[in-house]
Symmetry: C2
């Protein structure tokens, strides 16, 4: 078997176009509809700057106004919360995104929870996390990476009910909500994590119909580890040395693509898989919050 | 193998005594320490009245003042929220417990979330649920049944790290938090639920080192289904006909005790297992909130 590639670039491009068209239409039908996101960057880590630039560019491409607020890396927590409160109360702002990681004087949980839950387009605030976790809660804003993966699985018409799903990694923003979202669609989910034994990884991976890996280790999952015909979603972004590249390195996922694609039925590449979906979901969440705040159904 | 019985009555009696002694001591060292719980009952379902009576009795036995507020079954949601707000602001009240289920005009999620998170001794409010779900969040108030089960497992010195745990049922107040708490202690957890197939139940149960069942079906798990030496926690409370009883019925769990106790290493009986632990955890949570609110470390 040679696996079909799940093309995150194509799926995200398609969704981005849909978002762009919807915003264009809404601007025509609702003259005050001006969706706007504010991105907050503290300090100037180069990786954060790259992500922020990418997000602003994506916003502008679909007709979302993006504003970048840059603060000095030693801003105090109180000052930061005051700034967030001002944005929370600003009716022209529909989404607030605090670029992580933050410098150590700012507690990420406190800051994340200071973003109004209605404007929390990352879906990181406690109330949004609780909504993912609760069985019957009306889903509010879903964190972008797991939301993007669910969108991909749906786009690819992958059956979840009655399937064995394995999530590797249990972070608050990927692994945790991922497992819960798969479960809500009827999958039976096992979460593997840093305290799982090698035998447990072996046992559960071999029996998985769907694998989502977010552990951050190159070549973590190999063709020998998996069940024929399974579907693999690779969230890993790892850099390994590669002399053929100008940068001297190359980005790979958690999954050994070559061996796994001989066994799986579908697999996401890295790059070009989950990554582009995560970015477009920021736009999707922003469109949702803007519509809600402007009272558009 | 004949399983050892995990005696919830004994463990809860032991814990109740510890709580009683701690409250006695705190009353001596802090003259204003007067732990108080308010229980709200809407309408007069006989089962609710029984539970409320049990809880009030337990409170009084350990030195917690209990007050019962009974409201008419057609109280409006606004009125109910106003009453909760008054209690939220009343410094003499350390815990508020709304007896569920509520009549249909009251949305349980809205009401539950109207209880101040610091006084939510049931642990049902969104912020407490989010704290259970988030990886690094400081745990606040844990729902009583899963908290009681974790206490039992710890009391019995049952190793969780590296073990296969299976939770049957995914409710917001038992199965959901249960899985997360087991995972936080290092177990690798699979949650089985109404959409899991019979084959999935068979596969995962047979490989489980620890089983927590909360599905509400008598004889749901049988000796043939389980792995020799496993630990079984039975949360089920089901009634089956029994002519030898005056009431004509008898309470049983989800687990066929006779056959499972031949295979498992430890097992909770029903009654006398999880039930008494759940009740004592209300007291434990109340002691915690009272200490926090009175600034006692």
């Amino acid at each position: 078997m040679v696996a079909e590639k799940i093309d995150g670039k194509l799926i995200s491009t398609d969704l981005r176009l849909k978002i762009k068209n919807e915003i264009e239409l809404l601007k025509k039908t609702h003259e005050n509809f001006k969706p706007k996101i504010v991105i907050i960057q503290v300090g100037d880590r180069p990786d954060s700057s790259t992500y922020v630039r990418m997000k602003l560019k994506s916003c502008s491409e679909v007709g979302i106004e993006g504003e970048l607020l840059k603060y000095d890396s030693n801003i105090s927590e109180i000052e930061m919360i005051e700034k967030l409160n001002t944005l929370n109360n600003d009716k022209s702002v529909h989404g607030i995104l605090v670029q992580l990681p933050l410098p150590s004087q700012l507690d990420e949980e406190t800051i994340t929870n200071s973003v109004n839950v209605e404007k929390d387009v990352d879906g990181f605030s406690e109330l949004n996390i609780a909504a993912v976790f609760k069985k019957n809660s009306k889903l509010k804003i879903i964190p972008c990476t797991p939301k993007g993966i669910m969108y991909m699985l749906d786009y690819e018409k992958i059956q979840l009910q009655g399937k064995n799903a394995v999530v590797c990694g249990r972070s608050d923003i990927v692994g945790g909500p991922m497992g819960k979202l798969l479960e809500k669609k009827g999958a039976t989910v096992t979460t593997l994590h840093s305290k799982s034994t090698p035998e447990q990884f072996k046992f559960y991976l071999k029996n998985a119909d769907i694998i989502v890996s977010a552990v951050g280790k190159p070549n973590f999952i190999n063709g020998n580890d998996i069940k024929p015909g399974c579907v693999i979603i690779d969230v890993g972004t790892n850099y390994i040395p590669d002399e053929t590249k100008k940068s001297g390195q190359r980005m790979v996922g958690d999954v050994d693509f070559d061996s796994c694609s001989q066994i799986a039925s579908k697999i996401t590449p890295v790059p070009g898989g989950v990554g582009p979906m995560t970015v477009v979901m920021v736009l999707h969440n922003l469109l949702q919050t803007a519509k809600e705040q402007e009272g558009i159904l």
